[in-house]
């Protein structure tokens, strides 16, 4: 029985799972960074307008 396709599939599956997880980490980190920046800006502008008053 030729078992090479099974061996190839198993290693391919491992790399696909790890790649998907790494991508999900990267994309979640990117989204969060953007949201933190947006919130910081909103807080700063609110602070500035309060000081102006």
């Amino acid at each position: 029985m030729n078992t090479m396709p099974y061996l190839f599939s198993a290693y391919l599956a491992i790399w696909i799972i790890l790649a998907i997880y790494l991508y999900s980490l990267w994309s979640r980190e990117k989204t969060l960074r953007e949201e933190v920046e947006r919130l910081k800006e909103r807080l700063e502008s609110r602070q500035a307008s309060a000081d102006h008053r």
Binding site: T3, A10, Y11, I14, L39, L43
Partner: protein
Amino acid sequence: MSRKIRSRFDTVLAIILIPGMALALYMALIQAPRESTMGDLQRIFYFHVAAAIAGMTAFAINFICSIAYIARRNRRWDSLALSAAELGVVYLMIVLITGPIWAKPAWFVWWTWSPRLTLSLVLCLLYISYLLIRNYIEDPEKRALVSAAFGIIAFADTPLVWFSIRWWRDHHPGPMLETGGLAPSMRPAFYVCVAVFQVLMVFLLRRRYCLETMRGDMELLERQSDASR
């Protein structure tokens, strides 16, 4: 630890991991001798078992952090517990997918409800539930406490998975290192794969923990924003 040192540590881990992964692949697919009965199919074992050990380590970290959270009520323990649980699920997915790929040509079935396989599936479902439960609890302190309690209970399945092949008759191969089932010439490849998967686990755990810390900061900023309205 300062942010700069932490970032340097991550870079060092990443630098170790790139040649480490290449070495692990070389050892598993080329250097290790061909097994006499299973042939090349046995090479799945190196990454399959290494992923299982890394997954168990992640669940053990979750267990320790859950206890630490209940004892100290520090948010950092909860973040680390969550990160470890998520990683454990990723590693267990690798195990649960590569296992049946090996089983089909070896046992002529993709899956059998043997103790080791069933308990591994239950373990995966338990920690998926752990991750899902967190989405349904709004209050961060209550969420952390419920998760910590769930994490401690879920961990009870981990030793059952580990010892199942020793305690019960199982289709799954027995503990190869203890019974001498793994030839000495195959051991270097096995140890390299285990070591690389552990380093990868530490690297991913740190990245995930950073993400969770950032999410906590975000929650804090949102609360500040709401309070200042």
